[in-house]
Symmetry: C2
Subunit: 332 residues, 2 copies
């Protein structure tokens, strides 16, 4: 292998409307339930991978910062899956830029691992289909499986311990009047990872026992609502689903929550938007930020209201985003 195995991809993050919360198989990253998300235009990762003889070991540079041994090990494990397919042991340098507030519940790992999977596929000329890349991305971060596609995306939980049965696929292009507004209430890193939080919830929250059937029902209903482009229904189902997820955490033992003062304020602000006749619903992930589902056509009115209580630079509007695509190679 003498040629340059290099490729660079951009992948967009996604926000689940029907949440992924809990693994049935930790080693295989198989989820307890299916989930459904919207890919966002405004938040993305740009990731380059370069496999070459020059590298004695894998390197990982994120936002121009060399990463810790632990982080490099996670990336190496991920690269190993691609090296295996190519039957190579070339080490690689991974260079990535996250245009997402890291570890604050905006799922930077989703776009990061989706971009890296695409870059590996491109660099090593594996020509894997997107379904296969979705499965590969899943091993980096469960939600990354969904960032392989644009618009509304469904991640199928699959069957039993069959890794090949659990992957994402596009559900709806979202090429209609819909948007998401992220209210960034705190960009500090999370006090605990979503991986730990999930596991603690599964082990100690009595209400987790009902989670899977709630998701199954919510998923069925939101798919109908998306096809009908009924944003009120979509929003109501998504809001209820998110709050049920947060309720399973509150009922864990000991209890915990990702809610912060400003999260409460943001959720209350969305309730007030509805009282003012606007179409707005909230969702929240494993972090304090609040995301608002709304028609794109109502964004100006919603922004005007929110700007009274929140710093405008913390109000980030996004249209639905595309699937990953190749971008020019970074200069090193």
């Amino acid at each position: 292998m003498s040629k340059d195995y290099i490729a660079t991809y951009q992948a967009h993050t996604n926000i689940a409307l029907i949440k992924y919360w809990g693994k049935r198989n930790q080693d295989l990253m198989l989820p307890v339930t299916s989930s459904l998300s919207l890919t966002l235009e405004a938040f993305y990762s740009q990731t380059q991978v370069h496999f070459a003889k020059d590298y004695a070991s894998d390197q990982f540079i994120l936002n121009d910062q060399p990463q810790s041994k632990n982080e490099v090990q996670k990336i190496s494990n991920f690269l190993d899956r691609f090296r295996q397919l190519k039957a190579t042991d070339l080490k690689a340098k991974v260079t990535s830029y996250n245009h997402v507030p890291t570890a604050a519940g905006l799922a930077s790992s989703a776009s990061a691992f989706a971009a890296l999977a695409c870059a590996c596929n491109g660099a090593l000329e594996l020509n894997l289909p997107q379904k296969e890349l979705s499965i590969m991305a899943r091993f980096g971060s469960g939600s990354a499986s969904r960032s392989l596609f644009g618009g509304f995306v469904e991640w199928e939980k699959g069957q039993g311990d069959d890794s090949q049965s659990s992957f994402a696929h596009p559900f709806d292009e979202a090429d209609w009047d819909i948007a998401m507004i992220a209210l960034i209430v705190n960009q500090a890193a999370k006090p605990f990872s979503s991986r730990q939080a999930m596991q603690h919830t599964i082990e100690s929250s009595p209400f987790y026992a009902l989670w899977a059937e709630e998701v199954a029902s919510d998923l069925k209903h939101i798919k109908r609502a998306i096809k009908a482009r009924d944003i009120h229904q979509i929003g109501q189902i998504a809001e209820h689903n998110a709050m049920k997820m947060h309720a399973t955490m509150l009922a864990a033992n000991p209890s915990f929550t990702y809610f912060q003062a400003e999260s409460l304020q943001a959720m209350e602000a969305v309730r007030q938007l509805r009282k003012a006749g606007l179409t707005a619903y909230f969702t929240m992930d494993a972090g304090p930020n609040v995301k608002i589902i709304c028609p794109y056509s109502e964004v100006p009115a919603i922004q005007a209201h929110l700007s009274k209580a929140f710093d405008p630079q913390n109000i980030i509007v996004s249209r639905p985003g595309p699937q990953p695509f190749p971008i020019p190679t970074f200069k090193n």
Copy 2:
């Protein structure tokens, strides 16, 4: 009837460690589950009732303010039960002082209706036993049934639609090293009553289906812990029980919460107290205040910590409180 039918009682509020959340029979005020509380010395109501021919209609003066028609009607309905037992139709004037922040989750209705039940019993010389008064108080407010006793009190849910089977009884005198600290984070009136909140939760929260069995288990375990005077166990069980109740609300559709910014801050402060080696657990009711369960001997150390983040006048320490007792008649 020519003599003066008048009596004045003081009754103390109580905070449930195992919560009462939901009625199985609204008309009879029969609860879905049993519950267990600690009566508090620091918060109480003083209530006088005067049945006399002079009154053309019932009157109700709370904290020197004549109350609305609606409030008077509630009191009239309550008085009717006592008038029936005495076979009288004398109207009454009820004068009450609440030494509890009204409607902010410190259960002023519990002490208020317990005091009124005792005052009616005294004024009309009914000589009802306390068990019977607990049943009568229940009709005013469910949690009032528990304020008929001091220390730790259990309210038995009873059987079916048998009103006589659901009453409170003393469980433990709490005459040992235990205290409660109320952190008053907001004395504003509640946005919705606990009665409405309960009903909305029962009707729309999927997790409410598991509430009864959680309470049954928590109740069994906390009773053992109280008998063992194991305050760590008591605190852990109470904290988990309270958060499960709040989780049922969060999972309602639409979701709601009594959490406010300062409630989150107060709960986090209690977690930090534990990290600092102190013995402190929190509970929360249908309001934003946070109450801390701790040994009385650790109160000075806990107060010192809390005073850094909270206004000392909002930190109210209470020892366990007594059962209701007669006090001198108010001057009119």
